[in-house]
């Protein structure tokens, strides 16, 4: 993974007495105190993070936590008070006017919450705006804009005006406009928040679909945890202008750093993002190639289980044997395990979301076996660990 954007000690203070406010921050004074004394608002304070190439990096936080301020410093719509932003190792913060303009034209574009389409321009003219100001001739830029509109699934609206389109359609235009100048980075400030749930989900799918072949680096602000979990490769949570936690969706859900993050993830539908590998536990296994019935029986007795999983020397999954069958084999004085092997065990892959297993897990008495691509046994899923994970408790990995 290459770092696309590196943000170092980024700070933004709004107001006239920035110098005094900075001193007060360094003295560890609270934001309210700073506001009261200097009439300055600390929008973002000492933000440090990296965004990887081709990832969707989601920023979350309550209203006023500084998300918009942060994202607007990345293209310098807001001038940072302090700190540095690097793009591919080059400092954006040092750009002069002309360099900044070129950077905005070529490298980074923005999609806005309320679409921010120009009401006096047709859809195609809106989409082509970024190219128009670069002096691209009309035919070329309209061609490109048209392609982008098709790409986001908007057909036949080229010559309409924004107010003739629905919200969902307008945001498609916003997205197309952002894509038209072929940027490396897309900034999306609550781009889907103004849409109704159905449209929002559709746009999320659209974005994921686009991302799978366009491979941009996307920095996306969201209020909606389910949205963040769906589209985010990584999520950054902000509070009062500071970064609280950065991690993968699973990280955030499984290891919320503090109460603030916990509050955020309360009520989220965990089954959607929890995968089999997340809730599986390490089973007791016997090796069919060298272990006999007595070993199996002892293992079951030791762990108070009524069955044991069977693998070969390479840990390939073979099946499961029940205690009663093992006892019968011992009574009959047979060493053979193959004949009592049960192979009717449900299996799944580590990446399968729990959601799709829930039904079956509650129906079968036998735990699911989680296998990798080579049929090696990675773990098993028992009912109680699934329920535990869904209710938010960390899964205890045995052994």
């Amino acid at each position: 993974m290459t770092k696309k954007v590196e943000v170092k000690h980024l700070t933004k203070i709004f107001g006239r007495h920035v110098g005094r406010a900075k001193e007060m921050i360094n003295e560890g004074k609270s934001k309210d105190e700073i506001l009261a004394k200097t009439n300055s608002v600390v929008g973002v304070h000492d933000a440090n993070f990296d965004v990887n190439e081709n990832e969707i990096f989601v920023i979350m936080g309550l209203s006023g936590s500084g998300k918009s301020t942060l994202i607007r410093m990345l293209n310098r719509l807001y001038e940072p008070t302090d700190g540095e932003i690097l793009l591919d190792g080059e400092s954006i913060t040092k750009f002069d006017k002309k360099e900044l303009r070129d950077f905005r034209r070529k490298k980074m574009s923005m999609v806005f919450q309320n679409f921010a389409l120009f009401p006096n321009r047709t859809i195609i003219e809106n989409t082509a705006y970024g190219l128009e100001i670069q002096g691209v001739d009309k035919e070329t830029r309209h061609q490109k804009a048209h392609e982008c509109l098709e790409l986001v699934g908007l057909h036949g609206y080229d010559d309409r005006y924004p107010n003739e389109l629905s919200g969902g359609q307008q945001q498609r235009v916003g997205l197309a406009r952002g894509l038209a100048n072929d940027p490396e980075i897309l900034l999306m400030d609550e781009a889907f928040s103004a849409l109704d749930p159905l449209n929002r989900k559709e746009m999320q799918d659209e974005l994921l679909d686009l991302q799978s072949h366009l491979k941009k680096t996307i920095i996306f602000i969201s209020h909606d945890l389910n949205e963040s979990l769906r589209i985010g490769d990584r999520i950054m949570i902000m509070r009062d202008g500071e970064i609280v936690q950065i991690g993968s969706p699973e990280d955030i859900l499984q290891h919320p750093k503090n109460d603030y993050v916990e509050k955020f993830i309360e009520g989220v539908d965990r089954t959607k993002i929890l995968t089999a590998s997340r809730v599986m536990i390490r089973p007791d296994v016997i090796n069919i190639e060298k272990d006999g019935p007595r070993t199996a029986l002892r293992l079951m007795k030791d762990n108070h289980n009524s069955s044991v999983y069977v693998v070969d020397s390479e840990h390939h999954f073979k099946g499961l044997i029940d205690a009663k069958d093992v006892i019968k084999q011992i009574e009959d004085d047979k060493r053979d395990l193959q004949s009592i092997l049960r192979t009717d065990v449900p299996t799944t892959t580590p990446d399968t979301p729990i959601k799709s297993l829930l039904n079956d897990i509650s129906k079968t008495s036998v735990p699911f076996a989680v296998l990798d691509d080579n049929d090696r046994l990675l773990g098993i899923i028992i009912r109680s660990s699934v329920l535990g994970a869904i209710s938010g408790n960390e899964v205890q990995n045995n052994g």
Binding site: L77, L100, R101, F103, R104, G130, I133, Q134, R177
Partner: protein
């Protein structure tokens, strides 16, 4: 205490100062003559065209412009009003006076647009300019219009030109104000969108701000034009000919009949100008 008392007894010589200032200005004869000639040339061009146009062609043109300006919503009533109104003015023998008044109004409007719009934009872009210009606009608009006549005569003599100058001073503020307002009212996210794609200041102004501010800006121009028209009677006191001077003479002769007739002609002209400029403003809605 004693000093303060004597201060209140002694009038501060404001009037003197202003007179001295105006006198001092008159030494720049060349400069003011230049302006006079320039504005005079505009006035003469307008008048030359109006004198050249036959009455019927003038009426047809006015109707044509109205028709074109209203192209998606036809107001036949307005066009009928224009036809009847203009014929009536001709019938009353005020045709040339009407074209002179129109010349005065159009020249003033041209100047207030050329000065007012850039000034309004500049105010919207620069806080300093705004702080300086705002009180001057307030002053220009609240000072009784008659007062402007005095320095106008001193600096620009008698005739149409000082009339235009006085009208311009009186009717400039709404154009500046509305332009400023229109630009400031452009939604922040549109400005951010324009910036985020790397627009230059000019590109942002021409492609985003002015088109979006257009309606507000045009209503400023419309107001300015109406104010300029309201100045014609006052301007006639310093030799600006036209319907205004007809009214002014009628007052002198105590002739209510011809006073009102000329007054009506002004009203007709005002309605036509107002509706047509509004039509330009309204018709292209997105």
């Amino acid at each position: 205490m004693a000093n303060l008392f004597s201060l209140t007894m002694q009038p501060i010589p404001f009037a003197d100062w202003i007179n001295k200032f105006v006198n001092w200005l008159t030494q720049f004869v060349g400069f003011f003559n230049g302006i006079t000639d320039f504005i005079g040339a505009i006035v003469n061009s307008f008048q030359w065209v109006f004198d050249l146009l036959p009455v019927w062609l003038f009426i047809v043109l006015v109707l044509g412009i109205t028709y074109w300006a209203l192209h998606d919503s036809k107001h036949w009533g307005l066009m009928l009003f224009e036809l009847i109104g203009l014929v009536l003015i001709y019938n009353q023998g005020y045709w040339r006076d009407m074209t002179q008044t129109l010349t005065l109004v159009l020249t003033s409007s041209l100047i207030i647009v050329v000065i007012g719009i850039p000034l309004g934009i500049w105010m919207a872009k620069s806080h300093t300019v705004k702080v300086i210009v705002k009180p001057i606009l307030d002053f220009m608009q609240t000072m009784p219009a008659f007062v402007y006549l005095i320095p106008a005569v001193a600096l620009f003599g008698i005739g149409m030109v000082p009339g235009v100058i006085a009208s311009v001073i009186f009717s400039l503020p709404p154009v500046v104000r509305m332009t400023n307002l229109g630009i400031e009212q452009v939604p922040t996210d549109l400005i951010e969108a324009a910036d985020s794609f790397g627009s230059t200041g000019w590109q942002k102004l021409i492609k985003v701000e002015l088109p979006i501010a257009k309606n507000t800006l045009m209503s400023g121009v419309n107001q300015g034009m109406m104010l300029a028209l309201s100045m014609v009677v006052i301007a006639s006191m310093i030799g600006a000919v036209g319907l205004g001077s007809e009214v002014y003479f009628a007052v002198g002769r105590n002739n209510a009949g011809s006073g009102f007739t000329a007054g009506f002609a002004i009203v007709i002209l005002a309605i036509i100008l107002d509706r047509v400029t509004q039509a330009f403003n309204k018709n292209k809605k997105h």
